[in-house]
């Protein structure tokens, strides 16, 4: 990913910068790196991000970056649709919003008006909130984005890593589909940081994901992170109950030693009803044409399908990973 005036649409050509954001280190670093980009000064990121009638799908083809200062709500409580992985309280922080990858099933579509990538540059204000958190909490800091995948655009990890180390009583999760192991070489593993890799069958990657690394590359990244000493979580989420996963699970655990994993996340495709309806109006993706049911305002697979598929899947996963380490949603 580069900032360029070339005709390739997958380049960030424009960076919107909030007036207030100019004074921050991340902003200077990004603007220095992308000095040939079109920089547009803005008063408030919402003037760009919250415009009505934006085309989320088209904007994915022409990603742009917004650098802004977050004023409040640095941490949100995780919803019932998120996994807490046994932590007594689960939160997420949106240092960045939106993602350079393009997954048809992504929960971010229908959630925001825009798919432009927002980076909040006042990392220290997030850190103040982390410092106030009670012991035993978990914060997903790559929740509405993919931190590691964006490292070459905005190196957030460089700015947040020391704060993670300082708040040793809080567990931080960085979820990713990126296979970029080079990023990790700059950081030492710390006890309260979990790298969570989402693994998906290659067939699903080919059918429903764009720009994400292939399965082998992700498996390699998992092993690399383990070798470096990081705590690694593997997430099988979302699982599509009507697709074939058995061979995939065998394939993964032939290549990853399950006993080295910190834990496993496992969950079926789910989306709030209103959000699903919003995406359904514009999508052409088969993901949204599957036979789901509505359960308490959430669109997902029927209980029978979930029961039947999870039994088969967990039988295989359970052979490689301690059952207590498998978190199911």
């Amino acid at each position: 990913m580069s900032c360029s005036k070339s005709s390739s649409s997958r380049t960030i050509r424009r960076i919107y910068v909030e007036e207030e954001a100019f004074g921050y280190a991340i902003t200077s670093k990004v603007l220095e790196k992308y000095s040939d980009c079109d920089v547009v000064k803005i008063k408030n990121y919402k003037d760009v991000f919250n415009r009505t009638r934006q085309n989320f799908i088209l904007q994915k083809k022409f990603p742009q970056l917004i650098l802004a200062v977050k004023k409040d709500s640095f941490i949100y409580e995780g919803s019932a649709m998120c996994q807490s992985f046994g932590h007594k309280s689960y939160y997420y922080a949106t240092l960045m919003v939106n993602c350079i990858f393009d997954c048809q099933y992504c929960f971010l579509q229908g959630m925001y008006n825009s798919s432009y990538i927002v980076c909040f540059v006042n990392v220290e204000d997030f850190a103040k909130e982390f410092a106030r958190m009670e012991s035993g909490s978990m914060v997903a800091i790559s929740y509405e984005t993919d931190f590691i995948a964006h490292h070459s655009i905005v190196p957030c990890m460089e700015y947040i890593y020391d704060y993670i180390k300082e708040a040793g009583w809080v567990t931080f999760e960085i979820r990713t589909k990126s296979a970029n192991s080079l990023v990790l070489s700059k950081f030492k593993p710390v006890d309260n940081l979990i790298l969570a890799y989402t693994l998906t069958p290659q067939k699903i990657i080919d059918s429903y994901e764009t720009f994400t690394p292939n399965l082998d590359a992700r498996i390699k990244a998992v092993n690399h992170a383990l070798d470096m000493g990081f705590k690694v979580r593997v997430c099988f989420d979302p699982v599509f109950a009507d697709e074939d996963y058995e061979d995939f699970f065998y394939y993964v655990f032939e290549r990853i030693d399950g006993t080295r994993l910190y834990d496993i996340g496992y969950g079926f495709f789910r989306m709030p009803k209103e959000q699903f309806a919003k995406v359904f109006r514009t999508t052409k993706s088969v993901v949204f044409a599957k036979d789901y049911v509505e359960e308490d305002g959430v669109i997902t697979y029927s209980e029978a399908m979930i029961h039947e598929a999870s039994k088969r899947h967990l039988d295989i996963i359970g052979k490689h990973v301690d059952k207590e380490k498998i978190y199911i949603l």
Binding site: R13, K61, F62, A289
Partner: protein
Amino acid sequence: MIYIHTALSIEASPLIDGFKLKKDMDVNEFQVFGNEDMMMIISGVGKVKSAMALSYLFGKYGVCEKDILLNIGYCGSSSDEVPLGMLMLANKVVDMDTGREYFPDLFLTGYRQRCISCFSNVVKRSTENTENIFVDMESAGVMEASYKFLYPHQTVIVKIVSDYLDDERKDVSFLKSLMTENLSNIEDIIKQAKEIAGMTKGLDMAEEYAMLERISENMRFTKGMMNLLRPNVRKAKIKGYDTIGILHGFLDRKSSSRIERKRVFDELLKKLK
């Protein structure tokens, strides 16, 4: 449809000649010119007139996702280091009366992109500060209408530098030449904008929904039944089913009773699943 907005006849006339547009004699409220795929309106000077003209145009002719809107006009530059005739596209428009900022989603390549400051009055360089700004009197009105009717990627604000905010009067032929010299750029901008708007093409359900309505009239489907059928037709089309063929088989069915209606409804739903 390619919608073009200009404020002045002097801006419009090179475009009328270049694109071979004909005056629409049925429209009296504004001067409107067009051909099969282009329609141009001359609004008069100012953001209010611009917003009004575009609302008129969109209201009268309708607007869809494949349409694009270009505001083409002259702008002033506070710096005389910028050459006259330089073409730029607005990446931001500021309404200098309200301070409101507008952002077209500009995905075109190959052209300078600048912020346009939209004033209600004629601006003189001596009365403003020395910051290098580009000034016009319409763009905020165009963007206001655009935000109402279009997606932000459908609008392109094209400005050609015609003066340095000074008192020097430019003659008509010189001003026209600035526009004429940029005609090929404008053609390219239109081509790019059309391509981008074309990328958004969603699933065209018009034919299926029209057929479903006909079936519903014959069968007297309830609102609830239709609310269930519509998304299922869409899902079936996404899955690649021959939805037209399926619906065709139900076009001549008529319901004689509620039981028959329910039976046909279930049969259609089953075929779509």
